[in-house]
C-alpha cells in the first residue's frame, strides 16, 4: 500500500458554486510516481507532467491529485469528501499495486480551448448540428457533449485544412476520434 492515510486540512467555499465546498487533503506519501499510470488507465484524466498533477473530471466535479495533496471541488459536505477521498486513495493504491502491468502515459490530455476550435469552425451558424450557433457547438464540443461529426459543413472539401487542425487538437486532448477520420 502506498498511501496509508490522509488528513483533510482545508474546507473552502467552492469558487464555482458557493453553495458547495472545495476540500484539500494532505496525503501521507508522495504519489507523483503513480500519476502517469493512472493517466494510462483513465482516458478522462488530465495529466500535467510539468506541474506533476493529474485531474480526474467526475461528472461536474474535479478531483486533482498533486504529489502530496488531493483537491476536490463541488462537494456537498465533509462526508461526501471523505467518500471520494477514500475512493481516490483506493484508485492510487490499486494502480500502484498493478504498476508492473501498466505502461505509464506521460502525455498531457487537456480539454481544448473552445475558442481555438471556434476559430476553425465554418462560423456559418447553419444549425445543421442542432445548435443555434457555431459558438455553442464549439462550447459543447470541448465538453464532449457533442461530437465533431455532427458538424457537416466542416467535412466539406473546402474546410479540409481547418478540419485537420480541429481533429489534431481533439486527438491531442485525448478525445475519441472515429477511426475513419484518424
Amino acid at each position: 500500500m502506498l498511501v496509508k492515510s490522509y488528513k483533510i486540512i482545508e474546507i473552502l467555499p467552492c469558487l464555482v458554486d458557493p453553495e458547495k465546498t472545495r476540500v484539500i487533503a494532505m496525503i501521507s506519501e508522495d504519489v507523483s510516481g503513480v500519476l502517469p499510470y493512472i493517466n494510462a488507465i483513465d482516458k478522462n484524466a488530465i495529466y500535467t507532467k510539468n506541474a506533476n498533477t493529474l485531474t480526474l473530471p467526475k461528472s461536474e466535479r474535479l478531483i486533482t491529485i498533486h504529489p502530496r495533496k488531493i483537491a476536490i471541488t463541488k462537494l456537498k459536505d465533509e462526508q461526501e469528501a471523505k467518500k471520494i477521498l477514500d475512493e481516490t486513495i483506493k484508485l492510487i493504491n490499486e494502480t500502484f499495486k498493478k504498476k508492473s502491468e501498466i505502461k505509464p502515459d506521460y502525455e498531457r490530455r487537456k480539454r481544448p480551448n473552445f475558442l481555438d476550435i471556434y476559430k476553425l469552425l465554418p462560423k456559418t451558424n447553419c444549425r445543421k448540428c442542432g445548435e443555434l450557433t457555431c459558438f455553442a457547438f464549439a462550447a459543447k464540443l470541448v465538453k464532449e457533449e457533442i461530437v465533431i461529426t455532427r458538424c457537416s459543413s466542416i467535412f466539406e472539401s473546402g474546410y479540409k485544412n481547418n478540419r485537420e487542425k480541429i481533429l489534431k487538437i481533439l486527438q491531442g486532448s485525448g478525445f475519441e476520434i472515429p477511426v475513419d477520420l484518424k
Binding site: 482545508e10 473552502l12 464555482v16 484539500i24 500535467t48 506541474a51 506533476n52 504529489p67
Partner: protein
C-alpha cells in the same frame, strides 16, 4: 492564538486612527455631496479636502483626481475609457496597437485580453515579456512601439514578486516615438510603499487604491492628466465630472484621504521598517531552513518593493503549506489562484520563466509596518515545524 498577517499586498488592515475617523464621520456626514443644503455641502467640502490629499501624495492638481471604487475600476476606466473616447470622437478609425506586459494585475491583463478578441478589426494587442527577475525588456519595449501605437499600460510595481519597472524611462521612450501615445500606469501596489510622483513620471493616467495602504476597501482613484480625455464606463449624474457618476462613497473617500496623508508623511520611515523586516526574514529563512529545504528567491534583489518577498520552497506544495500555516494563525499567500478547473500557477511566475512545478511551490510574504521581528521569528519556526512534522520536504515533485 496570536495571528500574524503577512499578506499586505493582498490588502492591509485598517489603520486604527482611520478606523476612528470612519466611525466618527459615518453617522455625521450622511448628506449627499450633491445636495444644496448644509449637510450636503459639508459632505462636499470633506470629499474635496480628500481629493486634495490624494492629489498631494501623487503630486498632481486636485482636478486631475477621479474617485472610483478601487484599483480594478480605475484600471478599466483608464484603459477602456481612453480607447472609447478615441473611437467615439473619430480620433482613430483603423486598427491600432495597444501594449501591456504579461505580468500585469488581472484588472489590466484581462481588459487587454478582452480587447484582443476584437483584435482582427480594432486592436493589435502586444503583451510584453519579462526577464527572470520580472522586469520588462527595454529593447523589446522600444521595438514594440510603432507609429500605430495609441495606448500603453504598464504597472509600477508587481504585486506578486515586487519588481519595480522603470516607468519614467518608458514614458520618455514612448513619447519620443510618438507624443500622442497615452501611457497608463497601475500604481496600486506601489503607492504607500515607494514614492509615486506623476509629474516626475510624466504619466498620463495612474491608478491607485486605498486598501493597499491601511485605508478602507472599496475606494480608489484614477489620475487623469489635464488634456487626456476619457469616455465614461457608466452613465448617470454629474459626479466626478460625469466621468464616474454615482453618489460619492463619502466616508470611505475621507478615510482614503487620511490614509494618503499618513502614507505620504511616513513614506521614508515605513520604507526603512519594511526593508529591515524583509532582510531580517530572508536571512533567517536561509539560516534556519536551508538544511531541510531548497529555498529559491523569486523577487529581484534590486528595484523591488521593500515589503515583498516571493519564495519557492522547492518541492513543497504551496497550497498545503499555506493551509497548514493558516491553521497556526499565520497568513501568507501563494502565487497561485484557484480557478474553476484546478489551482493554476501564477501567470507572473510563468512569465518570468519559472517552471510550472516550481510555480506551485511559490509563497508570497508581504510585510506591513505593524509586523514585528518576533512575528517573523515565530513564522520561520512554524514553517520549519510544519515541513518536518509532515515530511513535506520528502516530496519528489
Amino acid at each position: 492564538m496570536e495571528e500574524i498577517y503577512l499578506d499586505h499586498n493582498a490588502t492591509t488592515p485598517l489603520n486604527n486612527s482611520i478606523s476612528r475617523i470612519i466611525n466618527k464621520y459615518d453617522k455625521l456626514l450622511y448628506g449627499n455631496p450633491s445636495s444644496p443644503y448644509k449637510i450636503g455641502r459639508i459632505s462636499r467640502i470633506e470629499v474635496e479636502k480628500s481629493r486634495e490629499k490624494v492629489a498631494r501624495i501623487i503630486n498632481c492638481s486636485k482636478d486631475e483626481v477621479y474617485f472610483t471604487s478601487g484599483g480594478t475600476e480605475s484600471n478599466n476606466l483608464a484603459i477602456q475609457g481612453s480607447l472609447n473616447y478615441l473611437r467615439r470622437f473619430g480620433k482613430i478609425n483603423a486598427k491600432k496597437r495597444i501594449i501591456t506586459t504579461e505580468i500585469e494585475h488581472l484588472s489590466v491583463l484581462n481588459v487587454f485580453k478582452e480587447l484582443s478578441k476584437e483584435g482582427v478589426k480594432n486592436y493589435d494587442v502586444v503583451f510584453l515579456p519579462v526577464d527572470n527577475s520580472g522586469f520588462v525588456d527595454m529593447e523589446k519595449f522600444k521595438s514594440s512601439i510603432d507609429s500605430n501605437t495609441i495606448l500603453i499600460s504598464i504597472m509600477l510595481a508587481n504585486n506578486e514578486v515586487g519588481s519595480i519597472q522603470s516607468i519614467k524611462e518608458m514614458v520618455k521612450i514612448a513619447k519620443s516615438k510618438n507624443k500622442n501615445i497615452i501611457f497608463h500606469c497601475d500604481a496600486v501596489q506601489g503607492l504607500g510603499k515607494i514614492r509615486v510622483d506623476v509629474k516626475d513620471l510624466e504619466i498620463d493616467m495612474l491608478s491607485i487604491s486605498s486598501h493597499k495602504f491601511y485605508g478602507p476597501k472599496g475606494v480608489g482613484a484614477l489620475y487623469v492628466r489635464k488634456g487626456v480625455n476619457i469616455y465614461p464606463l457608466f452613465f448617470g449624474g454629474h459626479q466626478e465630472k460625469s466621468i464616474r457618476p454615482g453618489t460619492e462613497n463619502v466616508v470611505s473617500i475621507i478615510a482614503f484621504g487620511y490614509a494618503c496623508d499618513m502614507a505620504r508623511e511616513n513614506l521614508e520611515k515605513n520604507y526603512k521598517i519594511l526593508t529591515n523586516l524583509k532582510k531580517f526574514f530572508k536571512d533567517m529563512l536561509f539560516e534556519k531552513l536551508d538544511k531541510i529545504v531548497n529555498v529559491r528567491v523569486n523577487s529581484p534583489e534590486e528595484n523591488c518593493l521593500p515589503n515583498t518577498l516571493n519564495i519557492c520552497f522547492k518541492g513543497i506544495d504551496s497550497e498545503l503549506l499555506i493551509s497548514l500555516l493558516s491553521q497556526q494563525g499565520i497568513y501568507v499567500s501563494s502565487g497561485s489562484a484557484c480557478t474553476s478547473d484546478s489551482l493554476e500557477p501564477s501567470h507572473v511566475l510563468l512569465a518570468m520563466g519559472i517552471p510550472e512545478n516550481l510555480a506551485h511551490n511559490a509563497i508570497r510574504f508581504s510585510f506591513g509596518i505593524e509586523n514585528k521581528k518576533k512575528d517573523l521569528i515565530l513564522t520561520v519556526k512554524k514553517i520549519k515545524k510544519i515541513i518536518l512534522e509532515n515530511k513535506l520536504n520528502f516530496s519528489k515533485a
